[in-house]
Amino acid sequence: MKPLDQLQFDANGKLKHFLTLSGLPKETLLGILDTAESFVSFGKREIKKIPLLRGKTIVNLFFEPSTRTRTTFEIAGKRLSADVINLNAARISTSKGETILDTVRTLQAMHTDLFVVRDSASGAAHLIAAHLPAHVRVINAGDGRHAHPTQAMLDMFTIRRSKGGFEGLTVAIIGDLLHSRVARSQIHALSALGVGEIRVVGPRTLIPTEIEAMGVTATGDLRAGLRGADVVIVLRLQRERMDGQLVPSEQEYFNRYGLTEEKLQHAKPDAMVMHPGPINRGLEISSAVADGERSVILQQVTNGIAVRMSIMATIMGGVEPRP
């Protein structure tokens, strides 16, 4: 198998899969954001479809449950005129003992052009991409603790729309960094796009020791982490992934790390509050903040459609013909 960050490029250096943001240059990321900008207006048209992917088949292959990611991928594919098939694969083939590659090969035999893959194992999308014919594309919709690149791109899009750019921004990412594929992808994107400072904030048990190698500063003190922040990203406390005693109690977590209006006072007055969803109200964020005027949580969902359209359009064009 090719090294991970080379697998997503073709021989000419063009992006063919969308698996990780690691190694993607700033220009590629900005290109995706710019193209997404031109898709935003489509939701307001009489006919919300454009014929770019007419005749193409997209399979949403989700081995883990998902509502917003799967739905926005489905809408994005349909707005581009593709046929979209949703498979909640966790409930079907794998329960009958079929391997992930056998499932993909079976679906490939039905002439799928693009797989959108989510799996609890890190590297699942890479594995699939490495075993498909050259004309088939793969988008990683979240793999284990590794990456969730389309979520990070829609977050970048939301930040740019609100702040106008990335230069000089102070970004605080709060919470469960240990299990968060979203945070890893966000850090890659924020670094490539050249923000001023990235801070990660959380209890030591949820901050992986190697994270500072990614060029971020880590702190256990929420107020210090929030001080002067332009962008506050709250991560979901992933209760379903907690297999040890990482958090003493939910009440104590909320007291120390839950984002409340009082704690948010430490950030800049115009700081924006983001969350990849789904939110645990009263655990990592209070309802008053989640529903407050600085929250852009629902805009993130809406932006997910345009950004996923842009990513699909970017990798699906100029595909070598089927054999």
Binding site: K14, D34, T35, S38, I50, P51, T314, G318, V319
Partner: protein, 176 residues
């Protein structure tokens, strides 16, 4: 080569022909980028108050699966509802007709116009689709290896005929 002055004469003549089409409160729509420059001039010659529309037809091109997406695609903008409205669709060069086909498709995803009138600065041979212009600034008998290149330098319009084999300017029969 045609300079800004010569082009202004051509555009004025196009505006007169468009006026004779008796369109009702038309919306002028230019195809990005050359068509949009021309559309702005025609709109001002015709004294049309309604804002200008612009189309970037990248998402409607028929060569996407071969050529991929234009990385500099811009958002299209039609400022008024097109339903039951007369439209003047403007492009710089009418060549194969594929751009106009794509533009018509895009317009129809906004609604059903009453009438679409096509105005082009240069009409040249090489049609691959049954499309013709209603108003033409100049018909040029260009050869296959020649290309009409419309440019805008700080508001100064110019039209050059380039030889795509040599990359140089080419001489063309037929004067303004």
């Amino acid at each position: 080569m045609y300079d800004a002055k010569q082009l202004a004469v051509m555009i004025k003549m196009m505006a007169e022909q468009l006026a004779a089409q008796r369109l009702r409160e038309p919306l002028v729509v230019g195809i990005h980028t050359g068509g949009a420059w021309l559309a702005e001039r025609l709109r001002s010659c015709l004294g049309i108050r309604a804002a200008l529309g612009s189309l970037d037809i990248s998402f409607y091109r028929d060569d996407f699966s071969r050529a991929g997406l234009n990385p500099e695609v811009k958002a299209s903008n039609l400022p008024l509802a097109v339903d039951n409205r007369d439209l003047i669709l403007v492009d710089d060069v009418l060549h194969t007709g594929r751009t106009i086909r794509a533009a018509l498709n895009e317009i129809f995803s906004y609604g059903r116009p009453e009438r679409v009138c096509l105005a082009v600065l240069i009409e040249r041979p090489g049609r691959e689709l049954p499309i013709q212009a209603d108003v033409v600034g100049k018909a040029l008998p260009l050869a296959e290896h020649q290309q009409a290149k419309f440019s805008n330098t700080d508001g100064n319009l110019a039209l050059d005929i380039m030889d795509t084999k040599t990359g140089n300017r080419a001489a063309v029969g037929g004067r303004l």
